[in-house]
Amino acid sequence: MKKTIKPYIMLLPAMTIFFGIFVAGLSMTFLQSLGYFPAIGLREFTLNHYKEVLTDHGFLTSLRFSLWIAFVSSSISVVLGVLLAYSIVNSKHKKGLEEIVYKLPVIVPHVVAALLVYNILGQSGILARMAYALGVISQQSEFPALLFDKNGIGIILAYVWKGTPFIAMVVYTVLSNMNNKLSEVALNLGATNKQVFWHVLIPLTMPSIFSSFIIIFAFSFGAYEVPFLIGPTAPRALPVQAYAEYMNPDWSHRPYTMTINMVLTFISFLCIWVYYKIFKLLNKYNG
């Protein structure tokens, strides 16, 4: 008994903070989304806000936009990341490449990534200036509008820049720790490099590819700063929409905001659940 309880007691300080902040915040959000917010005099429980939010055209457009950004940017990151990891594993100057290619973007914060994309791809950015200087375009506004656009190209590029090295890092670790007997056997039996890649390496790394996909998907779905800085005015990404609602000086609006947050949270939990399932699968493979 003593032994079993000891780790829990030692974890208690950390867990108190975690549950205190996380669970308390979540339960407050949930209560407020139901219309219970005594600090500003709202005391009635209702489901109306959910009904209102889930049928609201603006909300649905934002949701679709956020899902689109998260899905496209994560998919591109996965493809590029796997290729990158594979080429690093096969490269002769492993150490140097590793350091430069993925460590730097992983460290750089998302706000800085947004700023970089803004400075490079904006209509008054570096590329536009170069094109202008070379005479390719005669006016800055002729440069293709990659930022603040309705398809979220700028946002997707920023996320790809951040996501690719992350995927590469995860996949590279798995690839380099993998028992390469299997690949060698395959090669001995006459498989081409391409076949080894598709039939040996990819299936073995699939669980980690999936779980890292989920991580960056959940992140780019729920993050605020990149779509705020380089996203279009409409449709707004869901987190930007939630923030704008939260900042509405009319506090009777608050339950509406919290409903949006609950939807965001629900989708994030869904991601965690999928991640958990994949993790179990991964353990089955290893064990």
Binding site: Y8, T16, M28, Q140, L229, N248, P249, D250, H253
Partner: protein, 417 residues
Amino acid sequence: MIKGKKTIMRKIILFLLIAGLIFNLAGCSQEAVVAGGNEDLLEKSWKSILEEAEGTEISFYGWGGSQMTNDWLDNFLVPRLKEEYNITLNRVPMDIDQVLNKLLGEKQMNVTGTADVIWINGENFSTARSNDLLYGPFTHKLPNFNQYIDAESVEVKYDFGFPVEGYEAPYGKAQFVLVYDEARVEQVPKGHEELMELVKNNPGKFTYPAPPDFTGSAFIRNIIYDIVGYEQFITMEADKEVIAKAIQPAMDYLKELKPYLWRNGETYPATIAQLDNMYADHEVFMSMNYNPNEAAARIKTGEFPRTTNTFVFEKGTIGNTHFLAIPDNAPNKAGALAVIDFILSVEAQASKYNPDNWGDLPVLDNTRLSDSERVIFDDIQIGEGALPQHILLDHRVPEMPANFVPIIEEIWMENIL
């Protein structure tokens, strides 16, 4: 067996944590307890308030998005307060809506806060007042307020149509101006019609920040005033349908303008900072500002071209007063009173008005100044590209009631986006 034990243990611990949490929440819902000494402070003499403030620290929370503003606080106010009252002022840059959310959170937890003085106005003040987040009324206690401020003037009595009732003291005045590049704009528009013509003749060269950006929102209200006048809004009820009907002509105007805006109006800059950058980069030929001296400051720093100038519409542009308030849970109210009183002195207001420092319009009543005090203000040279005070004051119209602002922003989103 061991596994079963673990699960039970886990459940017990989870239960304990949740139980703790519920106690926590129950604690929060208790009625607020008034911190001791609040009532007494306003009964005390000014002298003993100053004695109490001596040697303390105060935290000044306010918008920190302008270097000029921050510099004035750091380079003038901080050292002068130290000399005068031995008060240490900590400037905390934070947007007012975030400050309010912080105060609201603190109110829920029923704790003493960290902010002593907050820079506030408009719909944020009305939100703070209607949720009992502010301390007061306190302005009648301030010697400089009683001596130099016209307490009966509309701009001191009301903040965006909301009665001030002594819960905030005026800090400075601002007025909306349009910023343009003389080298690229041939004819300065006198009003909305000329602006439409100008933009149609130069597609893609004009835009405005999307609400809820403060300046973009003010631009929309200016257009509304220019088209349907401002008088009707003073008595109008804050009902979305009524407002929507009244401002329909302005929405039609903005809709007509939209295809000629930057990027065909498909997207708008999210902040005034972004629009200013686009103006500095020559992407657009006009910008706008709620601080009439900001453009002059940016010419000086070299961010804006030297050919930058400002103008107001013939029918006028919106002006407002910004204020200072004390949160109800402020830890150092005596210090806060001393600081606010000092900011209302001739010395501080004149230093703030000087465009070398900040360029914020003073709030003192000119008729209450002595001749020697008036000379101090008259001697200040306004910056290149800034409009003189009398032109601004002659073209100044009042702000809308605060609760109209979010409604108008909503209508804009539904109609224009």
